[in-house]
Symmetry: C2
Subunit: 351 residues, 2 copies
């Protein structure tokens, strides 16, 4: 789960009468979690959902598979560095990778709006093809629906995926240990700022491109090297901050991170200052955090930095004693700041 | 595949410049097939997609799994006999059953429109829970997105599913043989007419309820009895006619069916006459066709008729020599009629 929403179900505390869905229910932040915890999890409760991972881990005759789903509603459909098509492939591939799985098969469900230009659909499908090839996955089943003009928004894409978890690999918040180091795979905020700039036609003097990428590639290079990855989490809706708070809560561990260690490129930092955004909460589509034993951290950094998708990898913090699910940050000026989940909606429809 | 769209990819004949998506591209009929064949299949071509089944059959260490996806955009969201929630569970469960699989795990991806009443969402989620329990499947992973008011239409739901294909079960158009009988599980047209009546506030004097149901239940009763099911196909968008034409084309076999043998209830027949619809093309969500050896047909009928979801089962035709992918029907007046795929859009957003 994470800002992915592992389900379960029984409708505990009824939601307020007359309540309505707001954009913030889709933020990946506090209100998304409230929706999941009050409506979804109570109805469907089962151990796979309750694990609150980026996907479910299933076992069939001793073979372990990861299974994940995501719907993509990004606006605009095309943005610097990608479009909804490669985003939809990369996103689900990355979710499977966060389970420690080798992504294998994807489905695609397209909801098209009447009047959508065929030429744009061709470009999107072509990007899906290229992204699937890069990630070495096969798109094996699909579905197409069309809604009347004004009842959709161009294209929505759902991708679901199956990956295989090989050997003894076990990647889960439950495996996080006191003393583990937290490694970030690269600089923050590119995807969110790229999409926002494209949507609002903002000019920051330099084009910031999305970091959308198949995170299975760097993760598999770590697994192949025999690294014991305790936990992985991609930093999508709600950004690094929300991901850390989610994982800390699920694992009932505390994390301490250091602001000076967190890389943010100058263009993204500048854009965030202009927009009044905190890069810790801006969405990424090609960044993840990894929790590993301190003794493994050096090798993890070497492998990641040798991979095109991990050149900016660095240690940003560690797991500390406590067990309250709290995340704190040492700030640049030497203070301590408690990190919370994203509240409200910072950047709607970022993925 | 079928009106499910197994994918593949390479963009062969470019589509006309300036072309746009029309509602008929989502009909499940001829234009949906054109879209798939010209845009989707060329880009992603692989044997699982090319099989053009209701789902892909995947193998992991000797275990065979079926994998299927469907997005639901039905309007209205609530209709006699069901709502988008149980429809989304039953539909994907049924698609897995059409692969001869025992459905096990589902994902759910919700795209909600800002302002959607929480109370309606609770009812939908509750229906999903009940449907999942009835079909004995677990919802193990999910995702929730929210789009601005006016950019969606209440709720869209994607469900993807994984089922296990047990023993030597092999259900596929490729297994259809000359002389096989074609068995229909019950009367036609209930779902399409129920949704259309609810949408247009039509009063046919009697409430026609959708037949939405988990087809895994009757199919598993056949498989458990050791029946060798050659092929199965559910009769959703495009109805019986489109399903037969699809299967005949994929299998390169000819089918001959008899109009007098095809059950349509009086209320549905009356509604179709008023609306100028042919029940052969009206969507169902709880009916399937089965291709079996003639020697097995009697036992199949007995088992189906003993099951609540198959009480109206009957033999409607047979596989004939030819191999051109043609479907013909002996009409009530003794003539022969060639059956084509649905062309255009009869009932948009039926599922």
């Amino acid at each position: 789960m994470s800002n992915k929403d592992s389900f379960t179900f029984n409708c505990p505390a009824p939601l307020a009468t007359g309540a309505e869905i707001s954009l913030a229910h889709g933020s990946g932040g506090a209100l998304t979690h409230q929706l999941i915890e009050q409506l979804i999890l109570p109805a469907f409760g089962n151990p796979m959902l309750d694990a609150r991972h980026d996907g479910a881990v299933l076992e069939f005759n001793g073979t372990r598979l990861a299974f994940s789903t995501d719907s993509y509603v990004v606006q605009p459909l095309f943005f610097p560095g990608g479009n909804i098509g490669d985003l939809a492939i990369n996103g689900t591939v990355s979710d499977l990778a966060m389970c420690g799985a080798r992504p294998r098969y994807l489905s695609a469900g397209l909801i098209l709006e009447e009047g959508f230009p065929m030429e744009q659909l061709e470009r999107i499908v072509s990007s899906m093809q290229v992204a699937a090839q890069q990630a070495d996955v096969q798109l094996v089943t699909g579905d197409t629906k069309v809604v009347e003009k004004g009842c959709g928004d161009g294209v929505f894409i759902n991708t679901s995926g199956i990956g295989i978890i090989e050997g003894n690999t076990s990647v889960s918040p439950a495996r996080i240990e006191n003393g583990d180091l937290i490694i970030l795979s690269g600089d923050l905020g590119r995807h969110g700022i790229a999409v926002m700039a494209a949507r609002e036609s903002l000019d920051f003097g330099v084009t910031i491109t999305s970091d959308t990428a198949p995170l299975s590639l760097p993760v598999l290079s770590l697994l192949t090297a025999g690294i014991d990855l305790h936990c992985l989490r991609d930093l999508t809706r709600g950004g690094l901050a929300t991901a850390l708070v989610e994982v800390a809560g699920t694992a009932q561990t505390d994390f301490s991170i250091e602001e000076h260690a967190i890389p943010v490129s100058e263009p993204v930092r500048g854009a965030c200052e202009i927009l009044g955004l905190d890069p810790l909460y801006v969405a990424n589509e090609g960044r993840f955090a990894a929790w590993v034993k301190a003794a493994d951290a050096k090798q993890v950094l070497e492998i990641l930095r040798g991979h095109p998708l991990g050149t900016g990898a660095c240690i940003i913090g560690r797991v500390t004693e406590g067990g309250h699910g709290a995340v704190s940050m040492e700030t640049l000026v030497g203070g301590k700041r408690a990190i919370d989940m994203l509240s409200g909606e910072q950047l709607p429809r970022i993925c």
